[in-house]
Structure formats: structure tokens, C-alpha cells
Amino acid sequence: MRARLLRFGPDALGKAGVVGSGRLYAAVAAGGFRRYATYRAATLAGVFTNTVFGVILAYTYIALWDERPHLGGYDQSQALTYVWLGQALLTTMCVMGTGFEEELIERIRTGDIAIDLYRPADLQLWWLAQDLGRALFQLLGRGLIPFVLGAWLFDLSLPASPLTWLAFLVAVALGVLVSYSFRFLVALAAFWLMDGAGITQMAWLAGVFCSGMVLPLNVFPGVLGEVVRALPWAALIQAPADVLMGEADLLGTFAFQAGWAVALLGAGRLLQVVATRRVVVQGG
């Protein structure tokens, strides 16, 4: 058990080993970035879709906030900022899935996962590196343009201080980490379920509802609100949005996000140890 948790092997303990691993996972992350950059037409189509949805949601929110000003503690401009942040972070956070997890589930289903295990690389770190590369591309390629367009079309409340923007980027990075570690758990479930379709759909549903894609989590009433704001999905969009709009206690928000990231990554590591022992049964 102990030996398996220290999977990186003896050479990773040395300084050269850490540098070597760093270079490998940096290369994997760069690969993840370029994989998504390859599909330019898909990116353009995505930018268009996010913009259109942003406009539709923005007018819906305007109607709603006209009726109920200061709903959830946001004024109308903040509500619109929330809309466009949601559109910008939708793919970065993989709220609706379609990240690495579908590929990993497919590899587990077909048994291709065996090949990944033959290599001197750690499964969780490998996919994490790749997913960070993907997230960075989608933040720049799919998030930036709709957000800029949104800011141009509507009156958004954006901070002037570069420090706030920096804090926002930290919150986004932590959000990506939470998103990744949750999806890694979902993907590994395929070792037991043999088919990942059901669980990815559940994850998709939970993601859309609990991340605040439909409505800000601040708006959710009573106990339901308390619960969704404590769940890991709150780290994806609600947390970065509140950091950007100065509605959040910075350290508390970071601690909340980091706490979920550590817990889910730890669970993923344990599940990986158990799952790699099962690898066998599938695909001879």
C-alpha cells in the first residue's frame, strides 16, 4: 500500500527526478493545450455559441433583476457580470463534461488503459497536466472573446485593481483543480461500472445545477442554498465570480476551493490504487 502510494519511484525523490518529472508533465500540459488548439473550427463554433447564450441569458437576467432588484445580493450589473463569467468559464471548468474524462472512460472500457499503466508515469498527474493545458487553452480560446464581447455589449461591474484580477485567476486555477479532481473520480468509476455513460450524465446534471450555471448559487433559498454553496461545484464559477466582483472573503474562498481540491485529489489517489488492481479483467 505504502509502496503504491509512492508510485513516483525512487528517482523521483532526488532533485534530478523532480526536474525530470516536471519537464515531462510540462510537456504533457503543452500537448493538452495544443490538442484543443488543433480544432479551430470547433473553437470558433464554441465562441459563437457561448456569445449567443450569453446574450439570451443576459436579457433573461435583466428581466429577472428588474422584477427582483438585489436578488441574491447582486445588483443588475453584477448579475450580468455573473452571466458572462459563466459563459467564459463554462468550458474551462468543464461544467458540462466533455473533458479528458470521456477519453479516460473510453480507455478503461476498451482496456487501452493497460498501455497507460505500462509507462513510467503517474495516471493522475498525467491527466491533470493534460487537463490544465486544456483549461488554459479554453480560457483563452473560448472564454476571452465572449467575455470581452459581453463587456462591450452590457454594463458589467469589473474591478479596476490588477490585484483583484490576479486573485480572480488564482480562484480560476483552484476551480480547475477541483473540476479536474471530481472528473477524475467520475472517470475511475468506469473500472467498476464497465460503462461510463450513466455516471457522466449524472455528473453533467449535477454540474449544471450545482455550479450555478443556471442561476447564481447566492439566489438559492434556505437550506438548499446552504448545501449547494458548500458542495465542490461552488468552487467552479460562484467562487471566481465572487472574487472578481469583490463579494468574497479572499482567503476563505481560496481555502474552500483548496480544501475541496485536496480532498478530491486524495480520494482520486486512493481510488486509483484500488482501480489499477482491477485493470486486468477488461480486454485481454
Partner: protein
């Protein structure tokens, strides 16, 4: 009967030979060592509502063999015989249920990552390459993953690119490669870090004749020049014939034969087929040591023992009949193995222990 005991004495023989020197310099003597290795799976089967039955499946049942450094060995058997399970144990992603297993002196399942730097694995039906990106990107990743020194990496890459004719493919995304091109790409990816042993699972499956020949030639050169140990699983008898001096046949998780390929033909009494086209329709050809199995117009099919040369047979037919054209068909490896296994099972007095065990495995 004779051949049966013969093949088993070979298995035991090689075992005893290396066993003495094992503790001293096992490293040079045998690179891969298996002593009574077993893998038992617990399979649960539903037998009714909320009820299930536990059943043991012996995928690998007490297998022992040695492979010396630089050997090229074919590892064959019917589907589900335990080949993949063995390879998974050899690479360390599966832990044996019993027995002792060493590759390069390392226990694979305990030190999988350390061993991974010294082995190469190629699966004909799976790919290690990065699907969306140009081929060269996957190689750059291997460079980092295996921490190959820069000079070594460039040298190995150049060599693979030249011999496997990959120069025009390096900038092509892997998803656009043909099966044969992808296969060559995968073989190169498995060799950049100078593995001491290469496990190949169906490396020529689905390839055309030219691609097959190219892959085989490359593997032969690799083995000759670098002394890379190769363990090859295949359903293509020609792969074995052209590459391996030694064949191991596994069935129901047990090693049934270990020796040269020619011996396999003898054990199984397998037959090759000579197809002759005569000038006109004639009654079945009559020659000793061959029998006509099929006649279709002027074309006739003759079966003859695989261990015998076709030359005298052809000479005789050419002398006595109006021969227009001919071809020789090799027996299908499945057929050879099936016949061999069949003849072994028919032996009057099989060792009682084995009969019992294989019976269990089959259940």
C-alpha cells in the same frame, strides 16, 4: 505420446539447467524467469435474484520458463489461453497469485515504474501515440517520460525513422495515419528508450504484405544488432517462422510446448496444402506422401505433412502430370495448435495432476 513427453522434458530441462546458476549470475543466463507462476481470478456469476456464485478461473496455471537475454520467442495459443495475462504479469500491471517471476532481476509488480524504463510494449490493436497531435509530439513526450539523454534520443529516433520509413509521417497527426503507418509509429515509440525487452502483441495484425515484411525485417535487425529480447504473441504463423527460433504454446493457462517451430509441426502432425492447376480436368492425382483433399475442375488440393519439403512432391507431379501452375499454403497457426493440443489430449495416459488441473481450468 512420444512427442508429448518430449516437449515436456524440454520444458523441465531448460528449467533445471538455469536453476543451478540462478542465484549466482541469473542476470546473464536468463532475462525472464517464471517459476510456477499462477494467476487466479475470482469471477462472480449471477445464479438468480440477489444470489451469485463465486468461481475460480485459473488464467495462468503454474507456468515455468526461462528466456535468455537476446532470445526471440513466440508465445502462442488459442484465444483466452492466458497469453495476455502472462504479459500483464511480466510488465507488472498484474500481480501473480502464486509462484515467482523476475524480469531483469526485478519483481515486476513490486517495481513496475522502475521496470517500465527497461521494457517496451507494442499492442497491435492499441496505440500509445497521441491521437490528435503529429507523430513527432508523441516521440518528444517519450523523450521526457523515459528521460532519454538528448544525444541517445536523437540517434534512436533517426534510426527508427530511417528503418521504419517514418520521415514523411512525423508531422502528420496520428489520427490521419493508416494502420500500417501507425503500427510502425508505435514500434518506434516503444524503442526510443532502448528497452532491453520488447513485448509485441499481434504486431502485424491487419497489415498488408509489404507492411508486414517491413515490420518483420526491422524486428530481425533490432534483435541482431541490439540484442533486444523479444517476446512475440501472434496468430500469424509467418511472424513466428521468420522471427522466432523458439515457440511456446500455452493452452488453458498451461505451457503445452516449448521448443523449435519445426517440432510444433511434428507434434501436431500438421499438413501444408499444395494447390496445383493442371491443363485440364483429371482424376485425382496419385502420389505417395500426399493425398488429394479437394478437386474443382482442373484445380486440385493436396495435403502433405508440414515437416516435409514440397520440392520432391512438386517434381513428381510436374513429371507425371500436365502442370500449369502451383502454390503452397501454410497451415493456419490455429489449426496447428488445435491439432497439437488435440493429439496431446488424446494421449493414453496423461499425467494425472495435469488432467485434473486443465479440467478445472476448462470448467
Amino acid at each position: 505420446m512420444d512427442s508429448h513427453s518430449h516437449s515436456h522434458s524440454q520444458v523441465d530441462g531448460s528449467f533445471d539447467e538455469s536453476h543451478d546458476s540462478f542465484s549466482n549470475n541469473s542476470f546473464n543466463e536468463s532475462f525472464i524467469e517464471l517459476d510456477g507462476v499462477e494467476k487466479v481470478f475470482d469471477v462472480r456469476k449471477k445464479t438468480g435474484f440477489m444470489r451469485s456464485e463465486r468461481r475460480e478461473v485459473r488464467a495462468v496455471d503454474s507456468i515455468s520458463f526461462r528466456v535468455a537475454r537476446g532470445e526471440m520467442v513466440g508465445y502462442i495459443g488459442p484465444n483466452g489461453a492466458g497469453k495476455s495475462t502472462t504479459i500483464k504479469m511480466l510488465t507488472g500491471i498484474l500481480t501473480p497469485s502464486g509462484g515467482r517471476l523476475r524480469v531483469a532481476g526485478i519483481d515486476p509488480s513490486r517495481e513496475r515504474t522502475r521496470l517500465a524504463r527497461r521494457i517496451g510494449v507494442v499492442f497491435g490493436q492499441r496505440t500509445t501515440l497521441w491521437w490528435d497531435l503529429p507523430l513527432i509530439d508523441s516521440y518528444k513526450l517519450m523523450h521526457r517520460m523515459y528521460r532519454i539523454p538528448d544525444a541517445r534520443y536523437r540517434e534512436n529516433l533517426d534510426r527508427c525513422v530511417e528503418l521504419l520509413e517514418l520521415a514523411d509521417l512525423l508531422d502528420v497527426p496520428v489520427r490521419q495515419l493508416s494502420l500500417g503507418q501507425r503500427m510502425r509509429g508505435d514500434i518506434a515509440a516503444a524503442l526510443l528508450h532502448d528497452p532491453e525487452v520488447l513485448y509485441l502483441d499481434e504486431p502485424t495484425i491487419g497489415l498488408d504484405v509489404i507492411s508486414k515484411a517491413r515490420v518483420r525485417e526491422f524486428l530481425r535487425d533490432l534483435n541482431a544488432e541490439r540484442g533486444t529480447t523479444v517476446l512475440l504473441t501472434t496468430h500469424d504463423l509467418q511472424d513466428i517462422e521468420q522471427l522466432c527460433s523458439r515457440v511456446m504454446v500455452i493452452d488453458h493457462g498451461r505451457l503445452m510446448y516449448d521448443g523449435p517451430l519445426t517440432g510444433l509441426h511434428e507434434v501436431g502432425d500438421s499438413e501444408r496444402t499444395l494447390v496445383v492447376d493442371l491443363e485440364r480436368e483429371l482424376p485425382p492425382v496419385e502420389v505417395p506422401s500426399a493425398r488429394v483433399v479437394r478437386v474443382e475442375g482442373p484445380r486440385q488440393w493436396l495435403a502433405f505433412p508440414a515437416s516435409e519439403s514440397a520440392a520432391p512432391l512438386v517434381a513428381r507431379i510436374a513429371a507425371e502430370y500436365p502442370l500449369v501452375d502451383l502454390s503452397v499454403r501454410e497451415p493456419d497457426i490455429e489449426a496447428v495448435i488445435a491439432k497439437m493440443l488435440h493429439s496431446m489430449r488424446d494421449t493414453p495416459k496423461p499425467p494425472p495432476e495435469q488432467a485434473e488441473r486443465s479440467g478445472r481450468a476448462a470448467s
